[in-house]
């Protein structure tokens, strides 16, 4: 491994070569842990909203979890709702404002554990909304317990010896499940653990919103994010854990795309 020498000041003063912020980000200060994957997902969302010129006609419905801070930090309209219920709430918003980009931002605990019912019915109705699930395989906010997506063998505070299917059953691959429903127009699973994955996930998000606005039907993007705190591993190992453990159970890629109606 090469090291950048830091013992002496650089010969040339550092200059900013690129703007990494998004115009929709209201503050760079946040409460999330170092190495958390959620902020990368927020940023992608902001970029897509800006690029598709949707910022001034979008309503986000957000659940409960660490990611919920996005509602405070981003310059978008948000409706914060009960744990798990965002797809139902988003349905009400969309039916009142059919021309608005309506989306949910939820964690795997919020969406797959508590709110699977609302998600599947929104998908079944072909509700023209976009549901985004930030999947880190744990309840991050409450300290790292097992969710419906915790992978087999994964240690959490409520599966201390690792998720054992004999005791806890198997993880639910939400994107694969949603893909099977006829009402879904677009289903993809991305990740934010390296630059390539981030770029790919942004494309998935963009496509999901484009298809929503074209009236194609229900669109869904699952994003694998890091939770080194909930996984009880060193921060730097988070991205590798996604690649070596998570993607075994949840392969990334585009799972379904229909032509607009």
């Amino acid at each position: 491994m090469t090291h950048v020498p830091t013992g002496a000041p650089p010969g040339v003063p550092a200059t900013k070569v690129a703007e990494f912020g998004s115009p929709l980000l209201l503050s760079e200060e946040h409460h999330l842990c170092p190495g958390c994957g959620h902020p990368v997902a927020w940023r992608l969302l902001c970029e897509v909203m800006t690029e598709l010129a949707l910022a001034d006609r979008a309503v986000g419905v957000i659940g409960h979890g660490c990611y919920t801070q996005a509602a405070v930090l981003t310059d978008l309209e948000w409706l914060q709702c009960l744990h798990g219920r965002a797809p139902a709430v988003a349905t009400g918003v969309k039916r009142v404002h059919p021309g608005v980009a309506v989306f949910t931002l939820q964690g795997d605990g919020d969406m797959a554990s508590e709110g699977l019912h609302e998600l599947l019915h929104a998908a079944g109705r072909a509700e023209p909304i976009t549901c985004i699930m930030l999947n880190n395989g744990v309840f991050g906010d409450t300290g790292g317990q097992m969710t419906a997506t915790t992978v087999v063998g994964q240690r959490t505070k409520t599966s201390l010896e690792g998720r054992d299917p004999g005791t806890h059953g198997f993880p639910i691959p939400v994107a694969d499940l949603v893909r099977t429903l006829p009402g879904t127009a677009y289903v993809a699973r991305g990740a934010v653990n390296n630059a390539g994955a981030v770029a790919q996930t942004k494309k998935f998000l963009r496509r999901a919103f484009e298809l929503q606005m074209e009236g194609a039907g229900f669109t869904f993007v699952e994003i694998l994010t890091m939770c080194p705190t909930g996984w009880f591993i060193p921060t730097a190992e988070g991205p590798g854990y996604v690649a070596s453990v998570f993607e075994e159970t949840f392969p990334v890629g585009q799972l379904k795309t229909l032509a607009p109606r």
Partner: protein, 357 residues
Amino acid sequence: MAVRLLQGSDALAEAAVTAGCRFFTGYPMLPFTGLLESMARRMPDAGGVCMNAASEIEAVNMTIGAAAAGARAGTGSCGQGIALMQEAVAEAALNEVPFVLFNMARGQQDYFQCTRGGGWGDYRTITLAPRDVVEAVEHTQLLFHLADTYRAPVILLGDYLIADTNMSVDVSPRDYGPLPAKDWALDGSTGGTGSSRQIWSWDIGKANRPGRGPDGQWKHIADKFAAVAEAEQRHESFMADDAEYLVVSWGTSGPFVDYVVEELRAEGVRIGSFRPISLWPFPEAALAEAAAGARRVLVYELNAGQMLDDVRLSIPDRSKIRFIGGVSIDYSGMRQGELLQASAIRAAVRRVIDEGD
């Protein structure tokens, strides 16, 4: 005046549409089902949406979405279904999303549920209990107005006798006066302006414009409901001025009690009745006044004594109070029970009078 002979459920649907309701959803459960079906028939022509939700939980959360987006919206169920909705009703009270919840109850077992909630937090729900279909139509229109006035979920507590009785009703729109602007309602348009909106029961606000925060928001909610408790008490009394015996009842029991009061008055008994129309806020002051000159206050309701608590809280001298109602189901399991008949009420009143108790 547009007077029409309508079945209760259809009359309520008509009243809701007239009041501007454009989003309605629910999950079938008798006796609420008729209202859901009626709304499904009525909404498309009115330019609204009626959805057959996949559960009561989904229904009430869809309603929150529609209401937060600025529409007049409603949903409903009865007892068990309302129990599933309670978490969302509490959330809507705390994040100030207004809608009307129609509880077409299976009798009078839902008094605690509607007036005490069962959700989380320091919230209350305005609850109106109509005596018949005519009053239910008025209450429906009034409730949409009160919901928007106070930015809060509100409840119509009806029952089978309201849902399934045909009555001539005036369904023309009522004007209850001006309302505050819905500038808080989300339509997506403020994103990217630096002043984007957010609805959250903690009212955290945005990084550039912090809101009240949970403490501030919940204090604001508590203050609001304290003001509502003062301003929105409603009641009706009948022959109560010189009453030695005052019978207190609510909802569709009221007309049965009034019938007995009339009968006994004709026989020389100084008796009157009092009916809270708003179950929350309970008309405490009016009841205290009506009961001041009475020797006995008789509480009649078809449950084990749920409103009885509010009567006790309203009347300084509790020793006057007697409970003459009771749990009552009939054998079909749906309709009001065998206690809901004038002869049964009359016998219960007579017992108190004759025993000099």
